[in-house]
């Protein structure tokens, strides 16, 4: 089944739409899917032109396609556990939060908290991701725990904060403090970043660009060869953050 959701024009286009209900399983049956526009609850058809093509008997056969002015739609794919969502343009905050399986493809940019506390599945963002890409919830000790987030462009600050498991791959640059509080999993940064891996206690972070203002609390621990984007790179290996228990590994291209 293919569900195509095209945004309708809105009187106040900057008011965010809270759309945690946009997940494949909700379209399996003719559910009364509702979203919030600001503090008003709306029927999905009030905000979208909806086209449904073909049948499905399980959520993994459902593909949801979002087009139009989708950049302020929040929580698409939250708690998703099967199927696929394709966003033709940009997507709002919290896309793919807590998702445990399935696939989200974003052709444009993703706003902050992409894949927050994700458990499994795949998110691929072809543009840039804003802050807290693949990060945690406020106050929660564990961020992303499994699955894969891949960003072809850049990511903002606090990428992979509290990363605990799974793989995060940012092909472009990251902002300030990527992998801060990281505990497990792997983060790969194709480009540059600032102050990576503060307070890291576990996991592996690989940086193939420049690591600006690298913190003084990492211990150099040899070097190794590593492949990225079809090329071999010489990587300096560090262990830290010794301000904390220091069990993480950071590899930075030399």
């Amino acid at each position: 089944m293919r569900v195509i959701l095209k945004t309708r024009p809105r009187a106040k286009p900057k008011i965010p739409i809270e759309a945690e209900t946009i997940i494949p399983q909700n379209f399996l049956r003719k559910n009364d899917v509702r979203v919030y526009e600001g503090n008003k609850e709306r029927k999905l058809e009030d905000l979208f032109y909806i086209t449904i093509e073909g049948p499905a008997v399980s959520p993994d056969q459902v593909e949801v396609i979002l087009t139009g002015d989708t950049g302020v739609i929040k929580r698409v794919g939250e708690y998703m556990n099967a199927g696929r969502i394709i966003v033709e343009g940009d997507i709002g905050m919290h896309c793919g939060n807590f998702m445990s399986a399935g696939e989200i493809i974003i052709r444009g940019n993703a706003d902050s908290w992409l894949g927050r506390e994700m458990r499994g599945g795949v998110i691929r963002c072809e543009g840039n991701a804003a802050h807290y890409c693949a990060a945690g919830y406020r106050g929660e000790k564990r961020g992303m725990r499994g699955g894969t987030v891949e960003v072809l462009g850049n990511a903002g600050d606090f990428a992979a904060e509290y990363l605990c498991g799974g793989d995060v791959l940012i092909h472009g640059n990251c902002g300030d403090l990527p992998a801060v509080e990281m505990r497990g999993g792997t983060l790969t940064i194709g480009g540059d970043c600032h102050r990576p891996c503060g307070n890291m206690t576990g996991g592996t972070c690989r940086i193939f660009g420049a690591a600006h203002q690298f913190l003084p609390t990492f211990r150099k621990n040899g070097s190794e060869e590593m492949e990225y984007a079809g090329k071999q790179h010489r990587m300096a290996v560090y262990r830290g953050d010794v301000a904390n228990r220091g069990k993480g590994t950071v590899l930075i291209r030399t």
Partner: protein
């Protein structure tokens, strides 16, 4: 008439030992107060009546009309923002939160541009703190980090730290060591035994280095970290480790610098590390006299200290998303109620511009920057002068502010209560 033990409603110190003389519904003298307190109590620049913007001018209107119009504006909005709250009493804040839940609004207080990052850090690692008297009576080491109390909290040093004699510290000035960490020299750094001048944006690295030193990893520390020599870092660490009772106070120098709450988190984790060696506490230097109260009230009603979004009926919290600066910057909100604060002066330009674009109602005793941006302003009594109510000091100690005379202005509580009733009438129970 002289009134003793008056509570000062300026900064988070909430000094409660002022002696104020009142004559004909005016304060005519203030004893024991700092400059800020004197200005606050002696100030007499109130907006006279509610005003409404009409075209390119302003017209006075009645309280009843102003209240009705405010209720209408809020009811019309799809994403109202209720901002401010730190300059009023807890009872009014409480009505504000209930108003927000009724409206499905976002409610946020001034922590958002003050110690919001401290709260975020506390939510990650907790907060080893204490009341200020604990510091006064026990502390032999004081650290001010990114804080300039002489300008922002003028009596902090004399009431609670540097110059405050206590039970176990009989001659504070002699027995206490004071360390100041800042990116620039200030009046406060001038009185320090040890001034640590940090490069801009270097606090996080310094804090990490200090944590590593306290953990016994001195060998790893390079000659210089963010402009501070290794020797000085070792010296500071040793002073802290050898303290009997140490107290860190930090200010906006940490909360507003790059990394924001991660700086505070690092400072808290340093404090926690020091507790493995001795007794250490850490406390934010809260700015507004009742900003901590707004955090407390918000928390017991909604579960969150600030930046609470009721759009979906339930309470949702996520600084960076539900915080005022972000909401205004993105142009999300379509109406704003400002209570007891001045975002026109204290928010970045782009945010203030959005306030001018939407219906903005301000409830405030004074003409301030936001007045010019607003569509409506309702003047109220000043808590601590002609209104009373609960305030929470920067360390969480609740103190009841006094009403010094019966003025003619209604209180924030009165006005908000009436707005709440009108909104409730429309919304059903």
């Amino acid at each position: 008439m002289k009134i003793e033990d008056v509570v000062c409603t300026f900064c988070g110190c909430l000094c409660d030992d002022l002696v104020v003389e009142v004559e004909n519904n005016r304060v005519i003298s203030v004893e024991n107060g700092c400059t800020l307190a004197n200005e606050k109590f002696m100030g007499d620049h109130r907006l006279k009546s509610p005003i409404r913007r009409e075209g390119n001018g302003w017209k006075a209107l009645s309280y009843d009309d102003a209240i009705r119009e405010t209720a209408e504006i809020l009811l019309d909005a799809d994403r109202p923002l209720l901002y401010g709250w730190s300059g009023t009493h807890g009872e009014a804040q409480s009505v504000g939160v209930h108003l927000a839940e009724l409206l499905g609004a976002v409610i946020d207080n001034t922590s958002t541009v003050c110690h919001g990052p401290s709260i975020m850090a506390i939510q990650e690692v907790g907060h080893p703190g204490c009341t200020l008297g604990q510091v006064k009576n026990r502390a032999d080491v004081i650290v001010y980090w990114g804080a300039n109390p002489i300008d922002a909290h003028p009596r902090h040093m004399s009431r609670y730290t540097t110059y405050a004699d206590g039970f176990f510290v009989k001659e504070a000035f002699k027995e206490r060591k004071v360390i100041v960490v800042d990116v620039r020299k200030t009046e406060s750094s001038a009185v320090a035994d040890e001034f640590v001048k940090v490069e801009r944006g270097g606090d996080y690295a310094i804090l990490s280095a200090l944590r590593a030193i306290v953990r016994g990893k001195r060998d790893l520390i390079p000659k210089q970290v963010a402009g501070v020599t290794r020797e000085q870092l070792f010296r500071v660490a040793d002073i802290c480790i050898n303290a009997k009772f140490g107290a860190i106070f930090f200010g906006l120098g940490l909360t507003m610098s790059p990394g924001k709450y991660k700086n505070i988190r690092n400072a808290i984790e340093l404090t926690e590390e020091l507790n493995r060696h001795t007794k250490f506490t850490i406390s934010p230097m809260r700015g507004h006299w009742n900003v901590y109260g707004s955090n407390e009230v918000f928390t017991w009603i909604t579960g969150y200290p600030y930046a609470v979004d009721f759009a979906r009926g339930i309470a949702f919290y996520n600084p960076g998303e539900t915080t005022s600066v972000d909401i205004l910057k993105r142009g999300e909100c379509d109406a704003c109620l400002v209570v007891a604060s001045d975002p026109g002066a204290h928010f970045p330009r782009a945010c203030a511009e959005h306030l001018a674009r939407i219906p903005t109602v301000q409830i405030d005793p004074h003409v301030n920057a936001t007045t010019h941006l607003a569509t409506l302003q309702i003047p109220v009594a000043v808590t601590g002068i002609d209104a009373e109510g609960t305030a929470y000091r920067m360390d969480g100690v609740p103190i009841r502010t006094r009403k010094l005379f019966d003025g003619t202005y209604p209180s924030d509580f009165d006005i908000l209560g009436k707005i709440y009733e009108q909104v409730k009438e429309v919304k059903g129970s």
